[in-house]
Each structure stands twice: as structure tokens, then as C-alpha cells.
């Protein structure tokens, strides 16, 4: 009979799902999953950005030799309000996905996500405070973003902890250095609107721009003391730069 056939079919499907889900434990919606990449795109008011190029910003001639930041606790919000985390499906922070974003590298793998519509993304700029200064950088596999072997590994040995964000370069020929870090300065971005992005087999990328021109908002760079912060001792300036980095993000 028809009804019994349907029940049998559901049974078969359920068993098939159980059997095939040894690798990943997520319940999968009917549309399936796809690989997602996060594209971090540096720009100067919409213009392409490159390391060691000189740009006019708020009346200053600025060139960057280093732009980099760590990213933790990435969360996507789906159309229906549900959250997608990248925590390796465990409660151990060690299993989370971490990124180290550098201006020279724009594409980052987030792994598999469900096909569907995504409303927003949020993350923290910095290394999760449970991990920062408690798990030493030599404890990771060498290809892990937090490893001491990461070519752009940035860390304070004299005050244990990652340099969450680093901006270095020159302004009007004078050097500047901002090293932002310590657990107090981990900066959540808040929800960044994705304009109902559809993620599927044809589009497996979310692009987020960060406007390098905003990094120095409200900072008078003609004052020498404003051209350097290692966070410790110059926390107000470090907080300002961290806030500026945060507000530089937008979907592109």
C-alpha cells in the first residue's frame, strides 16, 4: 500500500543518513552543503590596496608595510536566524577555526556550510581570550594560523600574547607602528550585513571589504606620540585604532 511504502521510504532515508554521517555530525538540510571561502578584501575608499604603495588619506601620504590581524569566533546568521559556528563541533576552543588575515592573502577556507541564504557574519578581531596567552604558539601543527611557524606569526614574548592586529608603515615619511593586543582589546565586529547572500555550488564565497583609509580616523598623525602604540602604556590610542579597524569592515 501507498502509506506503508512512504513509511518504508522514510525509514530507508533515515538509515542512509545515519550510515553516511560518520564523517560529519551536522544535520544536513535538503539542499546539501558547499565549501565556503571568506574573501577579506583590503581597499582604500573602494580603490584597490597594495602593500608599500602610497595613498592619500585625510591629507596624509600613507604607505603600509604590514597589515594583518587574527580572526576568531566566526559566526554566520542564516535567513531563519539560526547560527552557524566554526567550532569543529566541540566545546574545546582549541578546535575552533582561527584565521590570520594579511593584506597579501585574501582567500580563507571556512569549510563546509549548508547551501542557503545568509544574513550576516560576525567575528572577533584577535585571538580568542581563552587561547591567547594560555596556549603557547609552539603547541599547534606547523600549518595552523596560531603556530609559531606561521610566516606572519606575531607575538609578544615579553608579555605573553598574540599581537591581534598589526599596522606598520610610514605617514608623510615618518614611520608608524600599531600593535594591538591583550585580552582586554579583543574586538567583536558585531553583525556585518551580507545583503541576503546566497551560498550554493555556484557561489561559495563571502566577500568582506576592509577600508584601510579608516584605520586612522580621528587620529592626528602629525603628533609623534600618535604614530606608535604597542597597546601597553598607550591603551587609549590602541583602543581607538581597534575601533577604527572594526568599523572598516563592510560587505562588498
Amino acid at each position: 500500500m501507498k502509506v506503508i511504502n512512504k513509511v518504508q521510504l522514510i525509514f530507508l532515508v533515515v538509515i542512509a543518513v545515519i550510515l553516511s554521517s560518520c564523517s560529519d555530525d551536522d544535520t544536513v538540510n535538503d539542499l546539501g552543503t558547499t565549501d565556503l571561502k571568506l574573501h577579506f578584501h583590503p581597499h582604500v575608499n573602494g580603490e584597490d590596496f597594495a602593500i608599500n604603495e602610497t595613498y592619500s588619506m585625510n591629507g596624509n601620504e600613507v604607505s603600509f608595510s604590514r597589515v594583518q590581524f587574527y580572526v576568531s569566533n566566526i559566526e554566520l546568521t542564516k535567513e531563519d536566524g539560526s547560527l552557524v559556528k566554526f567550532d569543529g563541533n566541540t566545546s574545546e576552543k582549541e578546535d575552533d577555526l582561527f584565521l590570520q588575515v594579511t593584506a597579501g592573502n585574501m582567500m580563507y577556507d571556512l569549510g563546509e556550510v549548508e547551501i542557503g541564504t545568509y544574513k550576516s557574519i560576525n567575528f572577533e578581531i584577535g585571538v580568542d581570550t581563552v587561547i591567547n596567552s594560555t596556549i603557547e604558539p609552539t603547541a599547534w601543527p606547523t600549518d595552523h594560523p596560531l603556530s609559531a611557524d606561521n610566516p606572519n606569526h606575531y607575538y609578544w614574548s615579553w608579555n605573553t600574547g598574540y599581537i591581534f592586529a598589526a599596522l606598520e608603515g610610514t605617514v608623510n615619511g615618518e614611520p608608524f607602528t600599531y600593535h594591538i593586543g591583550t585580552n582586554d582589546l579583543i574586538t567583536p565586529t558585531g553583525n556585518i550585513d551580507l545583503n541576503e547572500a546566497t551560498i550554493n555550488g555556484d557561489n561559495g564565497e563571502i566577500m568582506i571589504g576592509y577600508n584601510v583609509a579608516k584605520f586612522f580616523n580621528d587620529i592626528d598623525l602629525s603628533i609623534e606620540g600618535n604614530r606608535s602604540s604597542h597597546t601597553m602604556g598607550t591603551k587609549p590610542l590602541a583602543l581607538k585604532v581597534a575601533g577604527n579597524i572594526k568599523s572598516s569592515f563592510s560587505t562588498m
Binding site: 603557547e136 609552539t138 603547541a139 606547523t142 603556530s147 609559531a148 611557524d149 607575538y155 615579553w158 601597553m232
Partner: protein, 350 residues
């Protein structure tokens, strides 16, 4: 039982690793050190970097090898010399690659495994992440880690030592720092005359030494807690009256540099006094050349400031009153903390 050497005290049990796909390969064995009773019983270790025989062999070789420095002339042992209990005898050393004086005195590595806050201000949480400081600092070893790794990879002996000790990591900066840290944790000193006395190993102290011991317990052990001779905490022992110099991220401001809490101004980590007769000059900037000068500081040189430790104040008086006879006996006692087995131990030498 009389001629106990340090190594016979250092019993070790070997625990085999359960073979597990992504764990350390089964041939690598971690070593569990048992340390003398008056130091606790187990050696503190980093659970993510447990000591192995292979790791220590590699770490020791690296510690003495100037290949790690930019000019090929400076090793860790240039400043941390075993015969001086891993110090270098200078107030502010100029033995780094640049020849420029460092801002602080080289501390002993005696019983480094127990130190929770490393460096004079306790800013470094673990040996593993500290290593990159001296390795890359322009006035210490000024190393470019990429170049160092390239050199190590050209050396067949190093390649096999790294692969034996850290099969997952191979020749890498992570493995380099792990190996150095493992070696540093083995630098246990607990075989001085005082240790043998206190553990009833058939050694007696002289009358003067015993007198010094009593004085020490009364006047010094509040901070230099026995038997580690440090409480591993931070105190202002009255070296300076003000801490206004903010240069170099606050390197002259003590623990404040790390916590940015004004109650930590001028506080420094209590150093262990084990092997103290070998590690002159004294204090974080090496300002005192001898133990006599140190005692005279506590007796008459202590300077008042808002963070001066309470143990150095009683009513209107500051400092610790010490008579000339007491000074002599205190120094006799401090000399019993010298551990000759520690500085001659071939396990710690190249």
C-alpha cells in the same frame, strides 16, 4: 646514602605513550622526573610539551649552539653560562649580537621549571613562548628564524635530531623552542649543602651557618620562601624611590609594565637565592656587586615609595636591621645554597 649525587635523586619513570594516530609516535617516551622532597615531588611540566629523552638531547645542543644567532657567535649559553649557574657575571650584559647593553641583568635558570611568570617582571607565561624573545631581539641573538631553520635543515645531524624528537613538527621553530624548553626544565638544583642538611643526608651546618639559617627564616623567608628560596611573586624591595621613567614600554617600572596597575610599580619577581654566591652582580639591573652590598641595602639602603613591601616597614622604620655579625652569618648561610653538582653536571653541559 651519603654521597647522593643529584642524578640518583632524580629518579625517573618512563611512561610509554599509547600509540594513537595523530599523537607522538610510539617510540618517543616521556620522562617523569621525581624531584627531591624539599622541592615538591614532581617537576612541573607543560602538558603539551612533556619532556622526552630525545627532546632534551636536541634542546641541550641548541642551547649551546651559536648557529641560532645572526652572527653565528652568540648562543643561549653566552649569557646563561652553566659554571655561573646560568648567568654571565655582568651587571648589564653586552654579549649579544649588537654589543649594546641589555636593560636588565641575566637571571639564573636554576629551577626554571617552577617559574610561572618568567622574566624579572613575570611577563612571559611559559618557556616555550619566551624563547622567541632572546632569539630575535636585536641586542641578544638577532636571529632571522627563517634563516636559522634553513641552516638547521642543511645539517644532517640536526635534521635527524628534530625528526627523532618531534616527528610531527620536524625542523621547525615550534620544535626548536619546545626542545630548548624541555632542556631548561631539567635544570633542577637541589643538591647544595643546605639541601643535604635539611633532608638529613648526614651533612651538618656550622654554628655560623645555622645562625644564618635562623636569621634568614626570620628576616628573609617572607619573600625568599623556603625551600625554593622564592615565593615566585612580586615585591618592591626598596631599590628606588620613584618609577617615573616610562621608556621602553615601561621596562624600568617593574611588574607595572605588565599589569599597568599602579600598585605594581617597582615590583619585581623574587629571585631564587639558590646558587646565589655564583650569580653576582645582584638585582634586576645588577646594581650590587656583592652579597655584602645586598645586605647593606636591606639594612640601610631601602628607599620608601608607595609600593614598598610591608615586610620592609615597621612603624616609621624601613628596611631590615642587620648587625655586622648577623651579616657575616647570613652570608655563611647563603653560601650553603651553592650546588656544585648542578654547575658541573655533564647532563647540563655541552
Amino acid at each position: 646514602m651519603k654521597d647522593f649525587t643529584f642524578f640518583s635523586l632524580l629518579l625517573f619513570a618512563i611512561i610509554s605513550f599509547q600509540a594513537c594516530d595523530d599523537e607522538v609516535s610510539p617510540s618517543i617516551k616521556t620522562i617523569v622526573y621525581t624531584v627531591p622532597s624539599n622541592l615538591g615531588t614532581v617537576l612541573p611540566q607543560n602538558e603539551r610539551n612533556m619532556i622526552t629523552e630525545e627532546g632534551v638531547i636536541l634542546g641541550k645542543k641548541l642551547f649551546y649552539d651559536p648557529i641560532l644567532s645572526a652572527n653565528g657567535k652568540v648562543s643561549c649559553a653566552t649569557c646563561h653560562k652553566p659554571e655561573l649557574a646560568f648567568t654571565d657575571g655582568l651587571a648589564l650584559t653586552t654579549k649579544g649580537v649588537s654589543g649594546q647593553p641589555l636593560k636588565r641583568n641575566v637571571p639564573t635558570l636554576t629551577n626554571a621549571a617552577w617559574i610561572e611568570g618568567l622574566f624579572w617582571d613575570g611577563g612571559a607565561n611559559d618557556l616555550e613562548s619566551l624563547t622567541f624573545g632572546p632569539l630575535t631581539h636585536e641586542d641578544e641573538m638577532a636571529a632571522d628564524l627563517t634563516q636559522v631553520l634553513a641552516k638547521l635543515k642543511e645539517d644532517d645531524e640536526y635534521v635527524s635530531l628534530f625528526n627523532n624528537a618531534f616527528p610531527e613538527l620536524g625542523v621547525s621553530t615550534s620544535a626548536l623552542s619546545r626542545a630548548l624548553s624541555q632542556f631548561e626544565r631539567t635544570l633542577v638544583s637541589a643538591d647544595s649543602k643546605y639541601d643535604k642538611y635539611v633532608r638529613n643526608e648526614g651533612v651538618n651546618l656550622s654554628e655560623g651557618e645555622l645562625d644564618g639559617l635562623l636569621l634568614f627564616k626570620e628576616k628573609c623567608a617572607g619573600c625568599h620562601a623556603m625551600d625554593h628560596f622564592t615565593d615566585y611573586s612580586y615585591h618592591n624591595n626598596g631599590l628606588d624611590a620613584s618609577f617615573v621613567n616610562e621608556d621602553f614600554e615601561g621596562i624600568f617600572q617593574g611588574r607595572f609594565r605588565i599589569t599597568r596597575d599602579s600598585s605594581d610599580l617597582g615590583k619585581y619577581k623574587t629571585p631564587t637565592l639558590r646558587n646565589i654566591a655564583l650569580t653576582a652582580p645582584y638585582m634586576h639591573d645588577g646594581r650590587f656587586a656583592s652579597l655584602e652590598e645586598v645586605l647593606e641595602h636591606y639594612n640601610s639602603g631601602v628607599k620608601y615609595s608607595g609600593t614598598l613591601d610591608e615586610l620592609l616597614q615597621s612603624g616609621d622604620a624601613i628596611g631590615i636591621a642587620i648587625t655586622e655579625v648577623e651579616k657575616k652569618n647570613l652570608i655563611l648561610f647563603l653560601n650553603t645554597l651553592t650546588d656544585t653538582n648542578f654547575i658541573t653536571n655533564p647532563q647540563f653541559k655541552n
